[in-house]
Symmetry: C2
Subunit: 137 residues, 2 copies
DNA sequence: AACTTTTTGCAAATGATTTGCATTTATAGA
DNA sequence: TCTATAAATGCAAATCATTTGCAAAAAGTT
């Protein structure tokens, strides 16, 4: 079921493009375009924010990157396709990825009941992380 | 399990607020703030776009309205759906509520694995509805 | 009605995202 | 390796959804 995602041949493999993908690989949570930009700068890159946006747009359209919005936020986050289910701590904002996506089992059932052709999903769970349970108890 | 959603007592029931809710009730798909604004104007209202935004913000925070983003779009949509788990058609924006939330079974497991005290969740599933499958086939 | 608090309208600001254009770079071919 | 050409980048300016400050208007209370 897993497929290696590759940049289609019509696009060129620029160093900026590679660098952006590396940031996304290293991040364990969906991040903002500006965060990517800042991490690159911090890493010594001289990249431009427009370039980050243009690449994220392209990658999103090609399905290589998932664009999403977190509750209460007004700017998009981007992540590689395997990082879209997560826990968010309401107190400190910490994010924990949920692996072993619980949705897959449910998908088939959903498909039949609603006749939808399912193309994607996002599960966001809110709660209070162990540290904050201590701190605010 | 169903609960009638009401505007909390600390808020006033202005005519603008009522009008916005009526538009949302009449719409069968999630719509943009500006669409709400324009429908109100067309209906003879002299409301201001800021007022629409402020009300939508308030209603969203109170959980009376669901704010979401459709794939490929960069502006928020708002709808009345009374639940937080839904299917969104990528083509027409139609929303179908998922009842029998699949998450509950998974919740206990999640609690133990991550030690989070879970307070809420949101499941968004994207796909193509039966009608659009026809139309775009 | 008078009073208190919230909400509105309007205009200006914000901030994320996009775009135009000149310049650079990646890639294919000679 | 050198060249041609399309694609991508940097930079600055533009867009446009959303937010905000403030004075005036409306809602809820006594
Ligand atoms: Mn875009
Ligand atoms: Mn807001
Ligand atoms: Zn926490
Ligand atoms: Zn549809």
């Amino acid at each position: 079921m897993e497929q290696k995602l590759e940049i289609p041949k019509k696009y060129r493999l620029t160093k900026q493009r590679k660098a952006i993908l590396e940031i996304l690989e290293k991040s364990d949570i969906p991040i903002h375009a500006k965060e990517i930009f800042e991490r690159l700068k911090k890493g010594g890159w001289n990249i431009n924010l427009s370039t980050v946006y243009r690449n994220l747009d392209m990658l999103t359209k090609e399905g290589l990157v998932i664009k999403s919005y977190m509750k209460g936020e007004d700017k998009a986050r981007y992540a590689l396709p395997d990082k879209k289910n997560y826990l968010v701590c309401e107190k400190c904002g910490k994010i924990v990825i949920i692996d072993n996506c619980p949705f897959d089992k449910f998908k088939e059932e959903l498909k039949e009941v609603h006749q939808f052709e399912i193309t994607g999903h996002c599960i966001e769970v809110y709660g209070i992380c162990p540290e904050c349970q201590e701190k605010f108890s």
